[in-house]
Symmetry: none
Subunit: 88 residues, 4 copies
DNA sequence: CACTGGAAAATGCCGC
DNA sequence: GCGGCATTTTCCAGTG
């Protein structure tokens, strides 16, 4: 009765386990994040505002990334490629 | 231009950086997860079903956890505490 | 002062009223639920445990539903459709 | 083996069933609400704004209720009670 | 009345 | 590109 589904079964099992492992790690980090917020709150910070700070900074970063890629486009258009970009 | 908000500035900065670091790590893991799904798909697996398998397994686990906590609640209600629970 | 927005006004009004009516009904039911808990408490039941019982039973049901939908997904994936599913 | 828990068991069962029935009804209404939003969207309304309209109207209503109860307080203070208030 | 946990909403993402 | 799905965030009820 063992191995009824054959090779694909093993493969499936491996995939499922890998995904579950990653999700477990994500869950731990998420809990860690929650704890940081709790700690901040305990130190008198307003969590809601703190979240907004994070959000705004993320947006800023995205804008900066956009600008940078726009700059890349310009540079490429005039044939002066930057040395490195980032890992794909 | 330096130290505009004074007192809590350093603390705030530290908190924000810690959160952003954790979020960065989460993001990387999430991308890793995505790649696993892609890879599975490339190997002929049905991603939709795969997701559903993961979900059902997760619910199984949660189910078990909650049954356990329900039992704990019963036991506590009738004053028969279990010897050990779990590591905090 | 009457009919300020014109065309879609009536339609919008109708939508808003329908939603508000439904929300009103939900609110009443929620209050009814609260009363049942209070009554149970007055009869000596432990509300906390009661809630947990309800929760676990709900999850049981969801579990069953998802198992079923997973099965459906499998059957569909291997092209063996079940005869009937459920009333839309 | 039947009826191991006695009278309280029946009572508990009844309570659980009543709660579950109410929750079922709430769930149906909630789904109905969702459908109204979907329908509105299909008719070209912006759901997010629609929600905001509902929210604002609710706030207005609450303010009006507050004002009313304030008025009641005044009236009572000067001994002129209003005919009806609302169902407790 | 502040804190926790659970429901609803907003957002982002992917496939069609 | 749009609608459905998954994740994240926000909100609210319940609890101590």
């Amino acid at each position: 009765m063992s191995e009824p589904v054959g090779i694909a079964g093993d493969q499936l099992r491996a995939i499922v386990e890998r995904i579950e492992k990653v999700e477990e790690e994500i869950k731990e980090l998420t809990e860690g994040k929650k704890e940081i917020y709790q700690e901040a709150k305990a130190n008198g910070f307003d969590v809601k505002i703190l979240r907004e700070v994070i959000r705004v900074r993320k947006q800023d970063q995205e804008q900066r990334d956009e600008q940078e890629s726009l700059l890349d486009a310009y540079l490429e258009a005039i044939k002066v490629v930057p040395k490195v970009k980032k890992a794909a």
